[in-house]
Assembly symmetry: none
Homo-oligomer: 224 residues x 4
DNA sequence: CATGAATGAGAGTTCATTCAT
DNA sequence: AATGAATGAACTCTCATTCAT
């Protein structure tokens, strides 16, 4: 029996957010924003572990102690950083290709949107992967983020199965996990691990390959 | 044009191995082995970052200083740990199903062997993932390990394409990257992330799902 | 051909000074000063090598970590200590005997001033000698300090040669090196090596002896 | 009143020598000799402080533990090293110029012999200077070595005073200390501190300068 | 709210010396 | 007499967090 696919796909709230109450004054808001921005920069540059709080405050041009006015520790700034970036990482502004009925076109558009968003936020994704290995709270966060896509795709697969377009033998959730995972691994390899010296994989080839394999895996009808 | 698939798929040698010369006496060998064993235990229990050298020496029941007789630092013991485990992680003792000509059976056996090895070494794989995020040398190591499987599978795909069993449209290396990645993600999710409280995914279902998707993705003939 | 005697005899700046930025607050300045003072005391008491940073911070009544707010390591405090003492070690507040034309009187005053300064800073000189044997940067520092005196005296010798008072056969720089060295060795022996139990050399005898030998060496006219 | 000049000018015995009884077997003698030789090499190369006992045993091609069969610690090997080198450092094989009566010629020969010996043993002298700053026992040793020369020269000065060749006003010991010190400082600067890149001071100029100054300082008769 | 100096526990690392073989 | 692994005390340096100003 397939798992529950639908239900509240609540956005993966960043951990520990809102512990400290938000700044009341305008100056406070400015300082906090500067800290979050600085933290993102430093985290992306040095990695989570090597980032020192003083690096962040220095980058934000404020005193070391001011940090604690807004955050209890490094984890919390990171949560704030991720919270701010969530929007773009989750709802990659999908273009309205949905109008069409061609499942292959829809699938391709979806994959392209995902990969584009991944590429756009590559450094942040790298950071998230690192942090997930180090801080359990963020492993949770990464999981929830993954689930958003997995559920979304599982719904799509189930829908296609209903319409007779996709292989009915596979469990939609399992298939979605596998295929979504496939795409995310490819994205990680292409945009995070890709070494600068080597020529990167061609973006379009990436899109078409994962889309073709995905479509085949679900036995979309028609020969391509 | 497909990348080079064959060539020497040299086993991914652990980094920095053999810096300190190996112990000459029997006693030395014993101590070194005890340290490696202790290190593996502590690493798997506490993670690479939280493992303190004194934890390792305590576990190995030797003095703190003795550690430095055999290893220059934490990285080096880890290299030794991985080196020792490599065998089982890479050559999962594939059962001789190769006799058959049924590509599906071969594929399934291969996936089962991979997943079994992953499960067997789950803690070590978790460790490797963590370390790869933290020490560049080990990111390299992880990559090389992945390549071993990717190349092996790419050869298989190319072979099936020649025999007319697999879709000739996809590039064997790209497809192998995507599909091997798919399996490894599933393995990671099932054996590393799986939370004890939740009931784990059924192993057989895992094998059959990834195999079916893989076969479909390459358009193996025949309906299942 | 005599070497260049004149030119900028820049004071021998202590090595590595000013690496850490100076404290901005008053409290910071106080702490830093306390550390330098404590360092001098500990160095003079225990020697450079045996001085532990915790001894210094303990003496300065601050936490071990505070040390690193102002100095990167032991070398740097020492540099600060020497920097602070430089003034007195280099410009021994020469009394205005210069008014006289009697070269012998001038020479004697100069030697007396040097020896007095050496005696006053004997412990620091001992420290400098020790450190020069251990840290190349400070060997350099000692050399530069020596050069200040050597050049100063070489100018004096050259001047006397011009006035026909000193032997013109000797190269002023070589002679200055030899004679300045002679005085500094005597000072080292008298004020650093002198054992407490033995009665020290009479200060006046020291001054008169080196002055007489120096004057003779340059063939000052007149019989004494 | 001049200090005692004569008396037993006992050779400056190296400290702590002969603590361990000498090796009985031939093999033992060989090992010990190898250790002393290795120690000298390592000390001269790395300095006393940076020399590790294992470096020495490695150089001598014997086990770390063997060291303690012959020496109690680092100090003791150094003592052995110095003891072996004493001969050449103290009795520089003075050429028989003593035949002549010309005090200037004798003085020059003496200085030349000293400087030549210093140059020949420059690395050892550097070592001795370093060690004297670090280990009180060897400060003593250095002093005694210096005294040998100072006394020898003081006797020479007293002799010349008796013969009416040298200024009778100066105390022979004081003068000897000053002038011997002058020569040793020059030697130290020329042969120990001299930087390889800079052109070294001309040896003959060195000899003639210190000799001339020395002779003048004692008011040797005759114009040069 | 901001500042930035002060804190101090804790980790890694070295190496002279010992001792079982 | 030789070996070389084992020992463990000692020391430096880091940096998140606190707090007086």
């Amino acid at each position: 029996m397939p798992e529950e696919i639908d239900g509240e796909t609540a956005p993966p709230v960043a951990p520990h957010s809102c512990l400290r109450e938000p700044p009341t004054t305008q100056r406070g808001a400015r300082t906090r924003a500067a800290l979050v921005k600085a933290a993102r920069k430093v985290f992306e540059r040095d990695g989570y572990l090597d980032a020192r709080l003083t690096d962040i405050t220095k980058e934000a041009q404020c005193a070391a102690g001011s940090f604690y006015t807004y955050f209890a520790n490094k984890e919390e700034v990171l949560a704030a950083v991720l919270l701010e970036a969530q929007e773009d990482m989750l709802h990659p502004g999908m273009p309205r290709v949905q109008d069409t009925d061609d499942p292959y076109a829809v699938l391709e558009a979806s994959n392209r949107a995902y990969l584009e968003a991944y590429k756009r936020n590559a450094k942040l994704m790298a950071l998230l992967e690192q942090v997930a290995q180090v801080e359990p709270e963020f492993r949770e966060f990464r999981s929830r983020r993954g689930d958003v896509f997995i559920r979304r795709n599982a719904r799509g697969i189930a829908d296609l199965q209903t319409r007779g377009v996709a292989d009915r033998e596979v469990d939609p959730m399992m298939a979605s996990r596998a295929l979504s995972g496939m795409v995310s691994v490819m994205a990680y390899n292409a945009f995070v691990l890709a070494e600068p010296q080597k020529e990167a994989v061609d973006f379009e080839e990436l899109v078409s390959t994962v889309t073709r394999l995905w479509a085949n895996a679900l036995r979309f009808p028609g020969h391509r």
